[in-house]
């Protein structure tokens, strides 16, 4: 560095300075000793601002090279940003939102609609970014719980495949261009030429907007189409009451429930509330002598039938006869009918049970059952005096209640006759979902101006000239009614990520106004003084329900005349059902829902042809064999699946698969051929191709035969029975009264085991909270809500079908399903087995086998009894997983965590175009409180340690430990039946301690002395002793 200063600074000579100062006369200002010294150096200083700067001349060659090298290197560094380091901009809030504290999430109430009907949600938002959807405890359709669909809708918000721009014939256009083109077309269309096709809509403000629209364009007609089987309910109500009413139930008052193929735990708008109400009648926290009872007659096994006390596997087409038999028993005249294949004495016992519980029973029909079954249910419920106590009728929820099939039929007829000039499709995907005999795609081509406004550019979008992006429900204002008629406001949390608009906004724009959705909704309700209303409005938004009257109670009584049974055909039966995870196909682009194992079959990513073990045997096929399914003159190929509990000579197919357009995920497995061409093989098969308007739900005359070859199906469970292990305890209610421990004979005695143990009883003697969890299997319906909640909370990636097939799915919670069978019986011979579910996640063993085997101490025990996983320390030897008897550890075999690329395991990167202007949308979904795990790292359930820590910090501020109930794990929160309890087991008064010490409590594999912190409570079935055991659930 000496070269920096080539001219050594001359020393200040103090003698000279003194001399000069003494010679000075008068007042003299001096700036420094140097000035006075008048040294050369000071003169230099005065002349030059930087007197000692190095000039090129003063630098020697070597230093020059050194500096050049350094500056080049530094110049290079600045280039690193963007290439190696993420290019980030941190911009502070200019005006921070109210109540925002950095790092603390905010929660907003809103609603999620499915089939137009609302369920209340609370949306977690981190610095303006919605990250998780939870249930709204104040909303009657949620009661704090959230099903998988609701929770997975957050993934849809950030889905890069979502429609982002207005497109005209595939080219990007603008809303303005569309609106002017559409207005021109509509003006020319004339009366009756303008049609709107939407899904079911219960939004009053949309109804008002539609009225304004129809006023502006006289003769514009509104059609509605939902591919679900809502029509059966609607027509059932028409048959019974002569008009359409909405039916809902109150299971909390029902002691006896008869389900006629109804899956009221999962597929109904009120399912979350129904699950809570029904299971509340089975809680065994206090000694009880009574319990409600569920009889179910089911075709395809569902979680409802499995949960119930008695289940009969009956063909869906036989349910009508069973309904008539029961109706006849309770005194409804039903005419002559068949038996339905169920033992008459059993039905007599059910009828007796129903009669004993007049006013506190429910007979409920599945929505895919024909209208007459619904009518019979209305009659039975009326005869039993259930109306008003357990069965409620209100005015329809929909703005314009219609029979959807008729509505669509009239549209198709008009399209074919050339009457329709302009068709605007709001949300629906009729090209894919319409009955195949309507030939909707052909009819659509006859419409000159056609536009689709939807979340995804799907099959219908491919047939329309215009595609308009729909705003996600977290992006736009709206309103909707819940299953019981409660109205709620849909409150957005984020500005539209793309150019999305709500349905009402589109109609308003077509009228020539550009009213934002907020005004469209708010002005619909605004009355009286604006300031008063504003207060009221804020209250509505805060609580998640609007303080406006519910749908009015409908005072109806059934007519009493039931038509004679109609023969709909003969031969094997085919049943079309909504898919339990991707619904009617609308969630096909959601990786979470595709990978969510179907509750009963544990299949992911596919639909199959379900059949009973006996039917499979007669066809000589087994799981994954390709079969050809012929119906209605059409044929499709799919995988056979042997489903224990399915009726014989009957086949169930789920709708929603075989999608060909609508996003990278839904379009299926891609294989890149040589030359880069991408061939797509859709997931599953399209069951809509067989579904015609005369057999929308149940058809007879299906032919199934082996087609040769295999169709690989990825399931998460390949063994079905417990093989005699003591894993899930279940017993009858009578047995529970005798011995509440439900312990099987071969179970080892825990006290005895602990006596034998060499270890001390109290493994952790820390004086503080000790976390533990208890799962009541008696309440668990197996609905999967906890699985999705965990996935959303803990940033669990989707791995894709191929990886599930390789047994590498990452779900931290497994919902194990076991058939309780005689261990000597073969798995496949199960005609109607008793079935149980068991949520299984890390049980946080006190003496965890995973801990001592990790060579780098990446999994260690906390003093509060948590088995912790230190992701940063993990090197991925996977020894912990080998040594885990519960096999609840999950390993990132590949780079699954990069959400943006998560589906590349089956889709080559080239097939997934960069969208969203390079913003990695799916990264925005991650919960910032949970580490995102990279490749080569083990992960597992942590009892939501981030939530524990948050509560602990809050507690510390108040100088106390977290109180009981302050920590709610994600699975516990989502659970509709409050099956899971978490808390401090050291606190004897906590709920978890009470459950843990319940006589029914046991720990899985406790003979291994792992001392799990998660305990389970056994399942109790309240069987009717008058019914012989063989028909038991």
């Amino acid at each position: 560095m000496d070269t920096m200063d080539p001219t050594p600074k001359p020393k200040l000579d103090l003698e000279v300075v003194r001399e000069r100062l003494s010679n000075a006369k008068g007042r003299h200002y001096w700036r420094g000793l140097e000035e006075i010294a008048e040294t050369d150096e000071f003169k230099n200083w005065l002349d030059d601002e930087f007197p000692h700067r190095s000039t090129l001349l003063s630098i020697d060659r070597r230093s020059m090279l050194k500096y050049m090298g350094a500056s080049l290197a530094l110049a290079g560094l600045s280039g690193c940003r963007g290439l190696f380091l993420p290019q980030t901009k941190v911009v502070p809030y200019v005006k921070a939102p109210e109540e925002l504290v950095y790092g603390k999430p905010l929660f907003y109430a809103s609603i999620y609609t499915q089939g137009g009907i609302a369920k209340g949600v609370l949306v977690e938002q981190h610095e303006g970014r919605p990250t998780k959807i939870e249930g709204n405890p104040d909303h009657p359709a949620s009661l704090g719980a959230a099903d998988s669909f609701m929770q997975a809708s957050i993934l849809c918000l950030y889905d890069p495949d979502r429609a982002q721009n207005v497109t005209q014939s595939g080219d990007i256009s603008t809303w303005e261009t569309f609106v002017s083109a559409a207005r021109d077309a509509m003006k020319k269309a004339g009366p009756g030429g303008v049609r709107i096709l939407s899904e079911s809509i219960t939004s009053p403000s949309f109804g008002a907007e539609m009225a304004r629209f129809q006023k502006a364009f006289p003769g514009a007609q509104w059609h509605q189409w939902e591919p679900t089987s809502q029509d059966n309910i609607t027509r059932g109500s028409q048959l019974a009451f002569g008009r359409i009413v909405n039916t809902y139930h109150d299971f909390s008052k029902a002691n006896v429930v008869v389900s006629l193929d109804a899956e009221f735990f999962a597929s109904m708008p009120g399912s979350l509330a129904y699950s809570r109400q029904f299971t509340d009648g089975r809680r065994l926290e206090k000694p009880t002598k009574s319990m409600n009872r569920l009889y179910s007659f089911e075709s395809m096994p569902t979680i409802t039938g499995i949960y119930g006390d008695h289940r009969w596997a009956v063909r869906a087409s036989d349910v009508e006869n069973i309904a008539r038999t029961i109706a006849g028993g309770v005194g409804v005249s039903v005419g002559a009918h068949g038996a339905g294949g169920v033992d008459a004495s059993a039905i007599n016992s059910i009828v007796d049970d129903l009669k004993k519980n007049r006013g506190s029973s429910i007979v409920i029909a599945g929505q895919h059952q024909p209208p007459v079954v619904h009518q019979i249910c209305h009659e039975i419920n009326a005869a039993l005096g259930n109306v008003g106590s357990t069965v409620m009728y209100t005015e329809p929820l929909e703005v314009q209640p219609v029979v959807h099939l008729d509505s669509l039929k009239s549209l198709v007829d008009d399209m074919n006759s050339g009457k329709v000039k302009v068709l605007l499709i709001l949300g629906a995907n009729p090209v894919y979902t319409a009955p195949m005999d309507f030939k909707f795609a052909d009819a659509l081509k006859k419409v000159p101006f056609r536009a689709q406004h939807s979340l995804y550019d799907d099959e219908t979008g491919g047939q329309c000239e215009w595609h308009l992006p729909e705003a996600h429900f977290l992006e736009a204002w709206g309103d909707a009614r819940a299953y019981d008629g409660t109205l709620s406001i849909q409150q957005p949390l984020i500005e539209p990520l793309f150019e999305g608009r709500s349905y009402a906004e589109v109609l308003s724009a077509l009228r020539g106004e550009t009213t934002p959705s907020y005004d469209l909704v708010k002005s619909h309700y605004e009355t009286g003084d604006a300031k008063v209303f504003e207060k009221e409005w804020r209250r509505w938004l805060n609580q998640g329900t609007a303080n406006v009257p519910k749908s009015a109670k409908a005072n109806v009584s059934p007519s009493g005349s039931i038509a004679a049974p109609t023969v709909i055909g003969q031969g094997a039966e085919i049943i079309f059902q909504l898919d339990p995870t991707i619904y009617d196909g609308r969630f096909a682009n959601s990786g979470w829902l595709q990978e969510l194992p179907k509750p009963v079959t544990k299949i992911t990513w596919d639909n199959v042809v379900h059949m009973s073990p006996a039917t499979a045997q007669s066809l000589s096929v087994t799981d994954e064999d390709t079969v050809e399914l012929k119906f209605n003159g059409q044929s499709i190929q799919g995988a056979a699946w042997v489903t224990p509990g399915h009726p014989d000579n009957s086949f169930t197919v789920n709708l929603g698969y075989g999608r060909t357009r609508g996003g990278t995920v839904c379009e299926g497995m891609a294989e890149e051929n040589l030359g880069g061409a991408v061939k797509r093989d859709p997931w599953g098969f399209n069951a809509y191709a067989l579904r015609s308007s005369n057999a929308m739900d149940i058809g007879l005359g299906a032919v199934v035969q082996a087609a040769g070859g295999l169709t690989p199906i990825a399931t998460t469970q390949i063994h079905h029975t417990m093989k005699g292990y003591d894993i899930v305890r279940s017993a009858s209610f009578e047995k529970y009264q005798e011995d509440p421990t439900l312990k099987p004979e071969n179970a080892e005695d825990r006290q005895e085991l602990e006596k034998q143990s060499l270890y001390p009883d109290q493994v952790f003697s820390y004086n503080g909270p000790q976390w533990g969890m208890t799962v009541d299997l008696n309440l668990c319906t197996g609905c999967n809500a906890c699985v999705t909640a965990c996935q959303s909370e803990n940033n669990i990636p989707v791995v894709g079908k191929l990886q599930v097939k390789k047994s590498r799915e990452l779900h931290w919670i497994r919902l194990d399903r076991y058939y309780v069978a005689d261990e000597n019986r073969d798995d496949k011979n199960l005609a109607n087995p008793e079935t149980v579910f068991q949520p299984m996640m890390c049980v946080n063993c006190e003496k965890a086998p995973c801990e001592p085997v990790c060579p780098v101490a990446a999994t260690v025990h906390s003093h509060e009894g948590l088995n912790q996983m230190v992701y940063n320390r993990c090197v991925g030897t996977r020894y912990c997983s080998n040594n885990c008897p519960y096999k609840v550890r999950r390993f990132n075999y590949l780079n699954f965590s990069d959400n943006q690329e998560q589906f590349n395991t089956q889709v080559p990167p080239a097939a997934r175009e960069p969208k969203a202007h390079g913003i990695e949308l799916l990264r925005m979904l991650n919960n910032p409180d949970v580490t995102v795990r990279g490749r080569g790292i083990m992960e597992k359930c942590t009892y939501c340690v981030q939530r524990i820590n948050e509560a602990r910090i809050e507690g510390k501020k108040l100088g106390r430990d977290p109180l009981d109930g302050e920590i709610i794990t994600a699975c516990q929160q989502a659970c509709p039946t409050k099956t899971i309890v978490f808390g401090n087991i050291a606190d004897k008064d906590s709920q978890v301690s009470k459950w843990r010490n319940d006589p029914r409590a046991y720990r899985v594999l406790e003979e291994l002395q792992t001392r799990p912190r998660t305990s389970y409570l056994g399942k109790v079935r309240n069987q009717n002793t008058e019914i012989s055991g063989e028909a038991g659930a």
Partner: protein, 475 residues
């Protein structure tokens, strides 16, 4: 009184040998490099080199993609990776046993085969060492986080973990084997240096021989050092594979948590190691005309050890069955069915193949003719090599597939990358062996000379004794 001739009339060195003929036979393989320039050397090393490239491609892809390219899953988190690791470590066992234990037991016959089997040990441990590192999810941190080095975070490895013990066991074993091997090579390097005519050869061997002059003092020091190292590595023979077996024995996995594992694994390792020595020695002996130094007697004795250890292993299998039954738990019974039910369980063929390869076929060695026939030696050794691989397959992935909770039992299927990694390490091993044969003396020159000397001395004393007996009959 006893001598080799008394016990076994077959001599350990055949032909009319002098020290210089031995030098010529062994050292000239290295000195005369032209001897290798023919198909017999280039063919095997060419194939081996191709396989090494397969290994490199596999490792490259593995590091790029992650171990998901293999078939491992949950519950079968260990499969080919650990199977291959244990298999290679086992093969590496014969070397130390021959060098150290047989030295301490003064088994002179080891002199002709110890160098070769030590080299085999070192290369096998190299192959083995690749797997534990590369099988981790994050090898870039695993390679040093498993070592106890002081760091500012104060984080130490988990000393309770058998994998941690593995790191010490295997690295110690490798280091000691390497040092032992090198020390044994020093006098031979000097011989090569002295015999070399080529300038470069002379320089290299001179450098490697560390100034060995063969003085009495050198020999004294050498013998002491060698004996010490032999003493040091003897416990390693038992410890390495015992510790490897702890990976399984200390776990709670049904099929792993068996107390018989340590001795059973050690016996299995020696079994596999000797089979591999036989398998490799036969072609080398043939190719380089070493029939006089590595005689049929050597094979005969190696075959006997193979048979003996094979019987111990068979006893181990019997005990596994016994424990499975005696445990009396459902899961253990389930596991036995899973392994043995040939008609219903998908991988049971592996179990029965293993019984055939490791128990039934080696029984041929009871017959002396089989012990001294190339055909039978190769057949049995190959069978044992395959059988020992299958044994690890049966123990590792097959136990993992069958879990305590039936819901998580899933199937495991290997992928092409599992096989390519395995075949690649075989290629690496063969390439190293063939390079070793070309550039280093594959048989210990001075020890064979020592053996020759002792044989002469013995003969002489024999004669003298005979003379004394006859002449001294009158005393």
């Amino acid at each position: 009184m006893s001598s080799y001739e008394d016990l076994d009339p077959l001599p350990l060195i055949l032909g009319d040998q002098t020290y210089s003929t031995i030098d010529e036979q062994i050292a000239d393989v290295v000195i005369d490099q032209k001897r290798h320039n023919k198909k017999t050397w280039f063919m095997p090393i060419g194939i081996a080199f191709l396989l090494v490239n397969v290994l490199l491609v596999t490792v490259g892809w593995l590091l790029y993609q992650g171990i998901g390219i293999w078939g491992n899953n949950i519950p079968t988190a260990w499969a080919f990776d650990i199977v291959n690791f244990v298999w290679w470590i086992g093969i590496g066992h014969a070397g130390t046993l021959i060098s150290a234990i047989l030295l301490l037991m003064r088994q002179q016959w080891r002199n002709s085969i110890n160098r070769f089997s030590e080299a085999m040990t070192i290369f096998a441990v190299m192959c083995a060492g690749m797997f534990p590192l590369l099988h981790t999810g994050r090898p870039w941190v695993a390679f040093y986080w498993l070592f106890p080095f002081p760091n500012i975070l104060g984080i130490w490895p988990q000393f309770k973990s058998p994998l941690m013990w593995d790191v010490f066991a295997v690295s110690t074993y490798f280091t000691v084997s390497l040092v032992f091997w090198y020390i044994g090579l020093i006098p031979d390097f000097a011989t090569l240096r002295d015999r070399s005519t080529n300038k470069y050869q002379k320089y290299i061997y001179a450098f490697l021989s560390l100034g060995w002059r063969g003085s009495a003092k050198h020999w004294h020091r050498y013998e002491q050092a060698y004996l010490l190292l032999a003493g040091l590595s003897t416990p390693l023979v038992l410890s390495v594979h015992s510790i490897v077996s702890f990976d399984f024995a200390v776990s709670v996995v049904p099929g792993w948590n068996i107390t018989v594992f340590p001795p059973y694994f050690v016996a299995g390792a020696v079994f596999a190691g000797f089979a591999m020595v036989i398998l490799l020695m036969i072609p080398v002996r043939k190719m380089y005309g070493l029939e006089n130094i590595v005689t049929m007697k050597h094979f005969d004795w190696m075959a006997k050890i193979t048979l003996a250890t094979g019987l111990i292993v068979a006893y181990g299998y019997t005990l596994e069955l016994f424990y499975g039954w005696y445990a009396g738990t459902k899961i253990e019974h389930e596991l036995l069915t899973w392994r043995m039910d040939f008609f219903h369980k998908p991988y049971s063929w592996a179990y029965w193949m293993l019984i055939l390869c490791n128990i039934i076929v080696p029984q041929a060695f009871w017959n002396k003719k089989c012990r001294q026939s190339y055909f039978w030696l190769i057949l049995v050794s190959l069978s044992v090599t395959v059988g020992m691989w299958l044994e690890r397959f049966v123990i590792i992935p097959m136990s993992l597939m069958n879990t305590y909770l039936p819901s998580s039992s899933r199937m495991y299927y290997p992928t092409i990358w599992d096989f390519s990694m395995f075949i690649g390490t075989i290629g690496f091993f063969i390439m190293m062996m063939w390079l070793f044969i070309r550039f280093l003396p594959a048989i210990n020159v001075f020890e064979v000379k020592d053996l020759l000397h002792k044989m002469h001395v013995q003969k002489r004393t024999h004669k003298e004794e005979a003379v004394a007996t006859t002449s001294g009959g009158t005393h």
